[in-house]
């Protein structure tokens, strides 16, 4: 078995294209992703709400005491950074230029309508790319009438003095998303690490298919080396190769780009090891299955980037239950927990190991089934 492991390792690690594909490419992707999407990660947590104010352009067509009070209350709410514009045209110009997220137009007669009890309507406008912000801004802006309404409900002479912010706590990362709060480089180091390990599945699959489909496989199987040893050698060499590649990528990402993978290298190594074993065992199984099913090859080639995408590997997105269907998610979550200092949850990883064992045994049975191809 050692002979096969050593020879396989040597063949894999001296293959320039494999090295390029599995070490240089992920590093390149980490750099591209980390830089391109850095802006979506900065100040995700531990930031003051001030950095998350909505930029609100205000066109006050009334300029009354009432409208000025409205603008002042919006500015005081802590939710809006208010910018005044003299006319609707200049306001829309600012909107189109991206200077403000939402434009509020206070209609002329606002103050008198308010005094008369005729509810004036404040118009909110946003570009089509800011539909979600517009809806949220409307919900927040509706608060401006709350105090007056409460006054009306109680019949008191003066409106209450609300201090918005009394009840609002600071944002904290929630336990359902362990990836919240990590930097872009760290996020992509994790997702690209899982991607490399997943590509290990594809590589082992191709390698096993080439080795065991045809005369070379016959020669292996005709040798005195036992079946279990033969398949174990493939898994061991694949896992070691994946571990080396993972180590290089993590090392480079940490040393060169400042990725932070937590404080327990052993936990990270254990997660990587489980992923490497699972993916290589699956690669072995699919490679053996692929001897008689050539369609598996293109399918796996496509599924790897697709699963990475759905698992939030390329863009940090939440695809809900679709995400849970991706194998990337299991290992990304485990790594993000470690990075965020959340206690590891070993049960999915142990399930993966058990699955690896079962698939390994199935492969050992299947490797001899060349005759029924």
């Amino acid at each position: 078995m050692t002979a096969i492991v050593l020879s396989s390792m040597r063949r894999k690690l001296t293959n320039r294209s494999v090295l390029l594909n599995l070490v240089v490419m992920p590093l390149l992707l980490i750099v591209i992703l980390g830089n391109a999407l850095a802006s979506t990660f900065t100040s995700e947590t531990h930031a003051s709400t001030a950095t998350h104010e909505t930029s609100l352009g205000v066109v006050d067509l009334d300029s009354s005491a009432g409208s000025r009070a409205l603008v002042a209350s919006l500015a005081a709410s802590g939710a809006f950074a208010v910018h005044a514009y003299p006319s609707v045209d200049t306001g829309r110009g600012a909107l189109s230029a991206g200077d403000v997220d939402v434009l509020a137009t206070v209609p002329s007669g606002y103050g008198s309508d308010l005094a008369d009890g005729t509810a004036p309507t404040v118009g909110l406008t946003a570009l089509d790319s800011q539909v979600d912000r517009l809806a949220a801004a409307q919900v927040a802006l509706d608060t401006v009438g709350d105090a007056a309404r409460a006054q009306a409900a109680t019949g008191r002479a003066h409106p209450p003095a609300y201090t918005l912010g009394d009840y609002v706590g600071s944002g904290t990362p929630t336990s359902t998303d362990p990836a919240a709060g990590v930097t872009g480089i760290t996020y992509y180091t994790v997702t690209m690490l899982v991607l490399i390990l997943l590509y290990g599945l594809g590589n082992t699959m191709n390698f096993v298919k080439e080795e065991y489909d045809g005369p070379l496989g016959d020669r292996y199987l005709a040798s005195p080396t036992g079946t279990l040893q033969l398949v174990a050698a493939q898994v061991v060499s694949g896992t070691l190769t994946s571990a080396i590649q993972g180590g290089v990528v993590v090392g480079a990402a940490v040393a060169l780009f400042g990725a932070d993978l937590g404080h327990s290298p052993l936990v990270v190594a254990a997660i990587v090891a489980v992923a490497a074993v699972l993916f290589n065992v699956l690669g072995l199984f699919l490679g053996l299955l692929g001897r008689s099913r050539p369609w598996l090859d293109p399918l796996v080639s496509l599924l790897i980037p697709v699963m990475t995408f759905l698992g939030g590997g390329f863009v940090k997105l939440d695809t809900g239950r679709l995400q849970d269907l991706t194998v990337n998610h299991v290992f990304q979550s485990a790594l993000f927990r470690e990075v965020s200092g959340i206690r590891p949850d070993w049960s999915p990883l142990l399930t993966c190991l058990a699955l690896s064992g079962a698939v390994f045994l199935a492969s050992a049975v299947m490797v001899r089934r060349v005759g029924v191809r």
């Binding site: 002979a3 045809g214 005369p215 016959d218 001899r368 060349v370 029924v372």
Partner: protein
């Protein structure tokens, strides 16, 4: 002489299809070159897989040196597959060493054997090259070296000369003769009757999964092709009539030619042919008894069909 390989009543079929092998029985004695002759699709490669334990026989048994196939017996068997089974990203030297290790070899013994077999197939000087840099014949020779590096007692060679140039083919055949001289038993699978005739001590003939007959070349010829053939190509415009053919056993009559059987020792038939066709024949070919005829007699079809 003790038996190296015994195949008893072996049958095999894929799922519920027609049997690929049907009750194949033969034995190979040690030190022999046993030739298994059959056309393409006869079931030779399937039989090889069963002999090596790569396929499991539906019925029957295979024993090597009187034992079923075990790790111990596997060490005594070498296998040279029909297609090239090489690692293209390793040098020839590393290929041989790898397959040596796969067969349980190590250390100095492995190094010595690696040199010996690479010398044996004439590739020692080119050992640093990868198989991709070799010619077709050199690859075939390396394929053989990888199969015999562990000094097996028996080597199964499945069509080792397919697609090689005459020079390399001759080199391979000479190597096999040397192996025989060194006491190695060789199971030589081929559909080239000339090679089987040249090399093999005993010959088995297989077709459509059935083992038709076995024995030495002489025994087979005597039992199944006791006659020679005279093939006559007639001069243009000439015809043969019933009188010309009277008293002769005609194997084939075609426009412009006729094949006549000449039973062993019957020289008067030759005389008859000479008398009747002297002025009608453009070309006269005498074909002595051979395996082709054995095969034709047994299956009513040509070996190369």
């Amino acid at each position: 002489m003790p038996t190296a390989l015994e195949c008893r009543n072996v049958s095999f079929r894929y799922h519920k299809r027609r049997p690929v092998l049907d009750g194949v029985t033969f034995a190979v004695e040690r030190g022999q070159i046993f030739g298994l002759l059959g056309p393409n699709g006869a079931g030779k490669s399937t039989l090889v897989k069963i002999l090596l334990g790569l396929n499991r026989a539906g019925e029957g048994s295979v024993t090597w040196f009187g034992e079923p196939l075990t790790t111990r017996t596997r060490r005594r068997i070498g296998y040279v597959p029909q297609d090239l089974a090489l690692l293209y990203d390793l040098s020839a030297h590393d290929n041989v060493r790898f397959f040596g290790r796969l067969n349980g070899m190590s250390g100095k013994h492995l190094e010595e054997r690696t040199r010996t077999v690479l010398d044996f197939v004439g590739l020692w000087d080119e050992r640093g090259k990868q198989p991709g840099e070799y010619s077709g014949g050199m690859k075939r020779r390396l394929n053989i070296a990888c199969g015999i590096v562990h000094d097996p007692d028996v080597v199964i060679m499945d069509e080792p000369t397919v697609g090689v140039d005459p020079q390399s083919r001759n080199h391979i055949l000479e190597s096999i003769e040397t192996l025989r001289d060194q006491g190695t038993t060789v199971v030589y699978i081929s559909h080239y009757m000339e090679e089987v005739e040249r090399l093999c001590t005993t010959i088995g003939v297989i077709d459509e999964g059935t083992y038709l007959c076995g024995g030495t070349l002489e025994e087979l010829l005597h039992a199944h092709a006791p006659e020679a053939i005279v093939d006559l190509e007639l001069t243009t415009g000439t015809t043969v009539d019933a009188d010309d053919l009277a008293g002769l056993e005609i194997l084939e009559q075609r426009s412009g030619g006729v094949s006549v059987s000449v039973p062993e020792g019957q020289l008067d038939v030759m005389r008859l042919i000479a008398d009747r066709f002297d002025d009608k024949v453009q070309r006269f070919t005498y074909i002595p008894p051979n395996l082709e005829q054995v095969f034709f007699r047994l299956t009513k079809k040509a070996l190369r069909d």
